[in-house]
């Protein structure tokens, strides 16, 4: 940026902050008097070397968010791994397997454990490495630091020390917490964007101390020294206490001089500052809470299953060891061939209790197969792959910002399929925080043809609904061909409006291709290009434009490339007004201390004229006043008061003759409000000289008055002036929703999800957005709970609380008494009331009310309250919650909810860092939940069920066999079979189930959002199903064991006369298990790609291949399995026929079950699968569409509901007319 320009700016920089109009901070206050603990920090400015030694050696600016480092990785990660009960159990088992009590060799215990733990640890290491790389990226950022003698040079962030003087340039992040010394502006102010800290997008002004303003050049720091004494590091973002000692003077410091790490310098060329807090001492890092590790509901339930299995394990171990003890005591002495007792007391008939105890350990190890060791690792692998699919989903990739969706933690995938309530932030999540000037009403005429997003979306929905005639509506509407009943026109009207809306949609599509002007989507030829001069009421239109271009506090900035102005405004809607004024031909181009210059294309559109308006007074906007005014003198010397504000406020202040257009304007305002536009009314007043002078005196008096009541006085004086106004018109600004938000909300509502909006915004804004998102609609009963502070009461706090309690009770009563099934309620509550409503004694009352309402909007809530509300919903309803947000103010909520989703793609990363999933836009939530969530839930649920099934099926055979060996703990299988069972032979098919299974395709998921409800209802992982699978496992184990045992009982098993020994029986049994469980999984799957086929049948083949290779190895390794397949089993027909019958017998009940289920009680996805399978959706489009529209959950929010409500309304009207017509029409309609 050109140096000259900055200087030019500096000259009027005082105006930027409107210092002349706003009370300045208390400069009279003396230095802070503090000492003692908590305020011990000393910073020697420009002397960083002092801070190299204790006690002034503070933490470096290096940040690390990793969990481990190279040294601590092994112990810590191993510790983490063995915190899982199952892993600990396996570790104990592995240790015990080194002792002689182990039923099988040590390696068969240790190898799978090492594999499983190693894999998990590798994953941990990888994740931590990524975190490390991210830290390093931050740590290696460069910043300009004073290196002595007034020379600045770049240094990486991590090498920054306390006391360093840094120079931060425009649009750069502050590397640490810094005390602002001076800026490129003369008065030492700078603008800071704290998006990363609190999510607020408006710029904040920071101001340097007067004393340090002189240091605004590199060279001036040559000999600068000062001392700062301040508070110790703490996480409070908005407080700071400290003193600056400079030049033997002590100056107090307050938060307005502190630039916080991770905030960004905006609109200021550069600032100089002293580093006070570095690295983890900085406020933002102090604020960083460790994100809680979340576990999904399914996983918690799985733990319960594991406990059940543990109980089962202990139980059968006890049975087995008691049985063993009895055998040892009474029978072992007779079994001479065992030569009991042995020297180690394992088989001592004299001490059966001791032997029994030893055996208990053996049994616990042996039956460990009941608990699938590979379960955790398989789930982890599956989840990582599922996360990969989420990350790679091209439909969740945002082209604009270039960010794909990201599953940041993979352990919540299935939770996505069970969400019940979504808690959403507004700004940046639902809206883009961009205002577009869309419509206006001037002198009672509405301008602006373009439809808002909501209208477009609703029109589309309506068009779709009516395309296939709704049977009920058709009854009412269709018989129009043969009669000309009076009410029939209504039907045509409906059609007509539909066509009109269609036209709107198409026009919208066209304009999208034009280069859009940011903040301006107005479209109406009547006003554009100077055409407004041909309109009636030209005076009012002119005034309207003038108000737009004059009544504001913005600063123009010339874009030198294009020659147009852009505006630096306080709020985005103000910016939108200015852009609109510019487009209408009233270009605000310059502001000086006393004047505003506007380049007007008036009276002729082609030749702009620059006009000067002298600003006499500026009456500020506050949330209490809800209006702002300027008083100015135009070129002709007339004094005008231009005012804009909330319609209710303005309407109260109109003069009698100023109400000319009030009726039509109100109508327009309602229309705008209904489609979710943010409205303001504009008015003016002509003042005569005398009146103004009198008033101005009072105003000046009030302004210069000293004392606490200055604000109040100013307000009163302003109020005096803002009366007798004349209404000009109203504006409608669209708080631009993010792309596809209404559609997405609609779909989510159809999927049965509830949406709560938690926003820091004003109630009005929140309600507007509620309308825009169709969370609110006309005819919905709004329950507004607000704290109307009755300051007269003795105990104001109690009074407020009582009043809120009353309001809640009344509202609940109202809902209870409501008879109309279609009645919908909306709860709107502000932050202050929420403070009380969230107190322990009231919160459940509040929650009950909120749950009864179709939509809930909480406005003016603090980040903490967001988190509290989330916790209340989570704990109060016990359902799964999902929080979505984009800013640091959402972090609490994101961490608190069961699932936190961050909006990435915007600059702030805090929310994303804290989140479990990040998506670039709100609309991707639909896909994330309805497709990925649904799939992942089903996959994981089926996978876990199957896992338990297979391990029970396998583990129990060991138990049965043991009972036949005198409970001695002998296993019928070779050690290697058992190692491979979980790790190789059955793990890949189940992983393929967990990764690739799809009950219905993604399109169908979207078309039938109701399918999503299978997740929240937990249809696939309820105890009924879990026990069903366990029972199936039990049955399978019985079949496998007893069929094998009976078939191989005592006779020869092949023509050669040989009888089956243990290894032959064991191998056959194992073959049966492999076949049975793999066929079972094939029956479970409903979606086979080549991968599933490959893995399932590959596993079976692998078993034979393994057996062959194992048998071919030298007997040193293979032992009794030597040549078992080739020599003993394969030539025996009985081996193959046993496999066949066992496999079929094992799967018969399940097959019958699912066949019966499908026959009598098909689930939704079964029917849809069939429809798809037979191509009925193509054949019978009508049916398909009808079902799709029926598949919506009964919902009261979303624009579908809104359309329905509208249709109902219409029908109601028709019905009324219909009934008055009497019998004639009854005939007609039948």
């Amino acid at each position: 940026m050109a140096r000259g320009r900055i200087r030019a700016k500096l000259r009027r920089s005082n105006l930027y902050t409107f210092a002349c109009l706003r009370p300045t901070t208390q400069e009279t206050e003396g230095p802070h008097q503090f000492q003692g603990p908590g305020y011990s920090r000393m910073v020697y400015c420009n002397q960083p070397h002092v801070h190299e030694k204790k006690p002034l050696r503070y933490r470096s600016n290096y940040i690390s968010t990793t969990k481990y480092n190279i040294v601590t990785f092994l112990p810590k990660a191993i510790f983490e791994q063995f915190r899982r009960v199952a892993n600990l159990y396996f570790l104990l088992a592995a240790i015990l397997s080194l002792t002689p009590v182990a039923p099988f060799s040590a390696v068969s215990m240790i190898a799978p454990l090492a594999f499983v733990v190693g894999l998990s640890m590798a994953k941990e290491a990888l994740e931590d490495w990524r975190r490390f790389m991210q830290d390093m990226k931050v740590n290696l950022r460069k910043t300009s630091v004073h290196k002595g003698d007034g020379v600045f040079g770049y240094r990486s962030w991590r090498k920054l020390r306390v006391g360093d003087i840094v120079k931060v340039e425009k649009d750069k992040f502050f590397p640490a917490d810094i005390l602002l010394l001076s800026s490129s502006y003369e008065d030492g102010i700078c603008y800071v964007e704290t998006m990363n800290l609190d999510g607020e997008t408006n710029l904040k002004v920071k101001r340097a101390l007067e004393a340090t303003l002189a240091f605004d050049e590199d060279l001036s720091f040559k000999d600068f020294t000062a001392t700062i004494r301040c508070e110790d590091p703490n996480p409070n973002l908005y407080t700071f206490v400290g003193n600056l000692e400079y030049d033997r003077q002590v100056y107090p410091l307050d938060p307005s001089q502190i630039l916080l790490r991770d905030s960004k310098l905006r609109n200021t060329a550069y600032v100089y500052g002293v580093v006070i807090f570095t690295g983890h001492d900085s406020k933002v890092m102090q604020n960083a809470t460790k994100s809680p590790s979340k576990r999904s509901k399914i996983e918690k339930q799985m733990d319960k299953i594991i406990y059940i299995l543990f109980t089962l394990l202990v139980l059968i171990s006890l049975i087995s060891s008691i049985g063993f003890a009895i055998k040892v005591k009474y029978q072992l002495p007779n079994w001479w061939y065992l030569q009991a007792p042995d020297s180690q007391n394992f088989y001592n008939p004299l001490r059966p209790e001791l032997s029994g105890t030893f055996h208990l350990v053996t049994a616990l190890i042996l039956y460990g197969y009941l608990i699938p060791i590979s379960l955790y690792v398989s789930i982890e692998v599956v989840k990582v792959l599922q996360a990969l699919f989420i990350n790679k989903d091209i439909n969740m990739y945002d082209e604009e910002t270039g960010t794909p969706a990201q599953a940041r933690t993979s352990n919540l995938n299935e939770e996505l399929g069970q969400v019940d309530t979504i808690l959403s932030d507004k700004t940046g999540t639902l809206t883009c925080n961009q205002m577009d000037f869309l419509k206006c009403s001037i002198a009672g005429t509405s301008y602006g043809k373009k439809a808002s997003d909501v209208e477009v979306a609703a029109a589309k929905q309506m068009a779709m609904d009516l395309e296939g005639p709704d049977p009920e509506l058709a009854n009412v509407v269709t018989p129009k061909n043969h009669t000309t009943l009076p009410w029939e026109t209504n039907g045509q009207e409906l059609r007509a409006s539909e066509i009109e809306l269609e036209a709107v949609i198409t026009s919208k599509d066209e304009t999208d291709r034009k280069p859009a002007i940011k903040g301006f989507s107005f479209e109406d030829d009547h006003l554009m290009d100077g055409n407004w001069l041909k309109e009636p009421n030209t005076d009012f239109i002119l005034l309207f434009f003038r108000i737009l271009s004059l009544c504001h506090t913005a600063i123009p900035e010339l874009n030198e490339e294009t020659g147009t102005f852009t505006y630096e405004a306080e709020s985005p809607d103000e910016g939108a007004f200015l852009v609109a004024a510019r487009e209408f031909g009233f270009e605000f181009c310059k502001r000086t201390q006393s004047s505003v210059f506007v380049r007007e294309r008036y009276p002729s559109f082609d030749k702009p004229v620059e006009r000067e308006f002298k600003v006499l007074n500026l009456l500020d906007f506050t949330s209490k006043r809800k209006r702002m005014s300027v008083i100015l003198r135009d070129e002709n010397g007339h004094i005008l008061l231009l005012c804009k504000g909330a319609d209710s406020i303005i309407f109260d202040r109109l003069s009698k003759n100023g109400k000319m257009f009030i009726e039509s304007t109100t109508k327009h305002l309602n229309e705008y409000g209904e489609v979710g536009l943010r409205t303001l009314a504009l008015a003016y007043r002509k003042l005569d000289e005398a009146e103004y002078t009198a008033w101005n005196e009072e105003f000046c008096k009030a302004k210069t008055s000293i004392g606490g009541d200055r604000e109040g006085m100013l307000e009163r004086v302003s109020d005096m002036m803002e009366r007798e106004l004349i209404l000009v018109g109203a504006t409608a600004v669209e708080d631009k929703l993010q792309k596809g938000v209404p559609q997405c909300i609609d779909k989510l509502a159809q999927a049965g999800l509830k949406l709560w909006v938690l926003t820091g915004d004003k109630m009005e804004t929140a309600i507007n957005i509620g309308f825009a998102c169709s969370l609110l609609r006309q005819g919905m009963k709004q329950i507004c709970i607000a704290a109307n502070a009755d300051s007269l009461a003795q105990d104001p706090k109690k009074a407020v609380k009582d009043s809120i309690s009353m309001q809640i009770a009344n509202a609940s009563q109202m809902i209870k008494l409501e008879k109309d099934p279609h009645a919908a309620f909306a709860l709107i509550i502000d932050g202050k009331s929420l403070t009380y409503a969230l107190e322990d004694d009231m919160k459940y009352q509040f929650l009950n009310l909120a749950v009864d309402c179709a939509s809930v909007i909480c406005c003016r809530v603090s980040p903490k309250q967001k988190a509290l509300v989330t916790r209340l919903v989570k704990e109060g309803t016990g359902k799964t919650t999902l929080a979505i947000g984009d800013g640091a103010n959402d972090v609490g909520m994101i961490q608190e909810a069961d699932i936190g989703v961050g909006i990435s793609g915007v600059e702030g990363m805090q929310a994303v860092m804290a989140s479990d999933f990040s998506i670039a836009q709100f609309r991707f939530l639909e896909r994330l939940l309805v497709i990925h969530g649904h799939w992942c839930y089903k996959r994981i649920a089926q996978m876990i069920c199957y896992f338990f099934y297979k391990n029970i099926a396998f583990g129990l055979t060991l138990f049965y066999f043991e009972a036949f060996t005198g409970f001695s703990g002998q296993s019928v299988y070779d050690d290697w079979y058992m190692i491979l069972f979980n790790v190789v032979l059955t793990s890949l098919p189940v992983i393929s189930l967990g990764v690739f299974e799809q009950d219905v395709s993604s399109e169908v998921c979207l078309q039938f959002p109701a399918l999503y409800q299978q997740g929240p209802k937990n249809l696939f992982f309820d105890w009924y199903r879990i026990f069903g699978w366990m029972g199936n496992g039990l049955y399978t184990s019985l079949i496998i064991f007893f069929l094998n045992v009976i078939i191989f009982y005592d006779q020869a098993f092949r023509a050669g006369g040989q009888t089956a020994d243990m290894s032959a029986v064991g191998t056959t049994m194992f073959t049966c298990i492999i076949w049975a469980v793999n066929c079972q999984i094939a029956l479970t799957m409903s979606h086979f790609t080549w991968i599933q086929h490959f893995l399932v049948w590959g596993s079976v083949v692998t078993w034979y291949v393994f057996l062959f290779i194992y048998g071919e190895m030298s007997p040193v390794f293979s032992g009794n399995a030597y040549k078992i397949l080739v020599e003993a089993l394969a030539p025996a027909p009985i081996y193959w026929s046993t496999t066949l019958i066992v496999t079929v017998a094992c799967n018969l009940p399940y097959l019958t079950h699912i066949a019966f289920q499908r026959c009598f009680n098909p689930m939704d996805h079964h029917v849809i699968q069939e429809i798809k399978y037979y191509g009925k959706d193509v054949e019978d489009r009508h049916m398909w569409r009808r079902e799709r529209s029926k598949a919506r959950q009964k919902t009261k929010i979303g624009f579908t509901a809104r359309v329905d409500a509208r249709i109902r309304q219409l029908k109601g009207k028709l019905q009324k007319k219909y009934s008055t017509l009497g019998g004639r029409s009854t005939l007609a309609s039948s």
Binding site: P404, G428, R1054, F1088, V1116, T1138, A1155, E1170
Partner: protein
């Protein structure tokens, strides 16, 4: 490119606009997931669904396959002729039956004569088995008590750690073969005669060839076997290598269940119905301590092995069950068919408003 999400309303200004345009488009697109049917989960897939047709044909298929197999198995089983003779009580003289253990442990001649009647023609080879009951060859202590190295390899003779307590003699010299299994080697012996003509029993080839060739060494000879105070079972001829001691090899293959048969030998002539076979047996093995039965079994085999009705019955049962199920489903299909893909079965149609 111009991001809608720039946080402030500053409309960029030259600085940020420049920053935007300097970002090369390639880096943006690099994050774009590459399209592949795999990552988009759109791989071609077959999605079989269980229509009644499929269910019925699956059950019928099982029926069609299983019934013949069952019938064939039953026939095979019926072709097998089996003579079983339980002798553990009968072979003890009446007067000693009160204390069988004392009898069996006493020295002296325990010869016993048994007569077997052949009721059906038996084609050679006729397999001779001994069957023990209630004998836990699968007990963990028993199964582990062996040394495969020692059996296979002469040099690993001292590898007897697993063999305790039958690893060394009292004076410390290694026992070959060591361990409880070998030590408790079955030592009843049978000889057969028909019409006073000796029926030779072929004891070769009764064990697995792989065992003889690879597990039991040709140069490993029994040593110090059964030389201790406690004699478990059969003595071994120390001049014959282990690979030819087939009784031992068969015995060393531990059985899976407490009731088991082991091959004793083969009679390689046909026996005709009506033949009377005299068996002279030496009743040496102590099963009396644990009330174990002893049986002598003569059996022919079919392609399925020995006599085994169960397999055939199981096949017929499962086949029959599947036939029954197929019928049930057919009836359901005929009586109360559910039109496939009938939307009226969707949950929202079945109980309207029941969400």
């Amino acid at each position: 490119m111009n991001s809608n999400n720039t946080p402030s309303s500053s409309a960029g200004g030259p600085g940020s606009a420049a920053a935007d345009s300097t970002a090369p488009p390639t880096t943006r697109n690099s994050k774009r997931p590459k399209y592949s049917r795999f990552t988009q989960q759109e791989l071609p897939a077959c999605k079989p669904i269980l229509t009644p047709k499929w269910v019925i044909s699956a059950f019928m298929l099982v029926t069609v396959i299983f019934i013949p197999i069952g019938v064939a198995s039953l026939f095979a089983s019926h072709d097998v002729v089996e003579i079983i003779d339980r002798y553990e009580t009968d072979c003890i003289p009446e007067d000693s039956r009160k204390d069988k253990i004392a009898y069996i442990q006493s020295s002296g001649d325990k010869t016993c004569n048994r007569i077997l009647n052949v009721t059906k023609h038996m084609k050679h080879p006729i397999y001779v088995y001994y069957q023990l009951d209630n004998y836990y060859q699968n007990h963990r202590r028993y199964v582990k008590s062996r040394s495969d190295q020692q059996l296979r390899d002469r040099d690993s003779e001292n590898d007897t750690s697993a063999c305790k307590p039958e690893d060394k003699t009292a004076n410390g010299s290694t026992i070959v073969p060591c361990g409880l299994i070998a030590w408790s080697l079955f030592n009843d012996s049978y000889s057969f005669s028909r019409n006073n003509q000796n029926l030779s029993v072929n004891k070769h080839g009764i064990s697995w060839k792989s065992d003889r060739d690879h597990k039991f060494g040709k140069d490993v000879f029994p040593k110090n076997f059964q030389s201790g105070g406690l004699i478990g079972g059969k003595h071994l001829n120390e001049s014959i290598p282990l690979s030819e001691q087939e009784d031992l090899i068969v015995w060393m293959r531990t059985a899976a269940l407490p009731t088991f048969r082991k091959l004793y030998g083969k009679i390689e002539v046909d026996l005709v119905a009506g033949d009377v076979i005299n068996v002279t047996l030496q009743n040496n093995y102590n099963t009396y301590s644990f009330n174990g039965k002893k049986k002598l079994v003569l059996s022919t085999t079919s392609w399925l092995g020995g006599k085994n009705d169960f397999l055939g019955i199981a096949y017929l049962t499962v086949g029959g069950l599947c036939f029954f199920l197929a019928m049930v489903f057919t009836i359901i299909y005929l009586v109360k068919p559910r039109r496939l893909g009938d939307p009226s079965y969707l949950s929202w149609n079945r109980n309207p408003g029941g969400h």
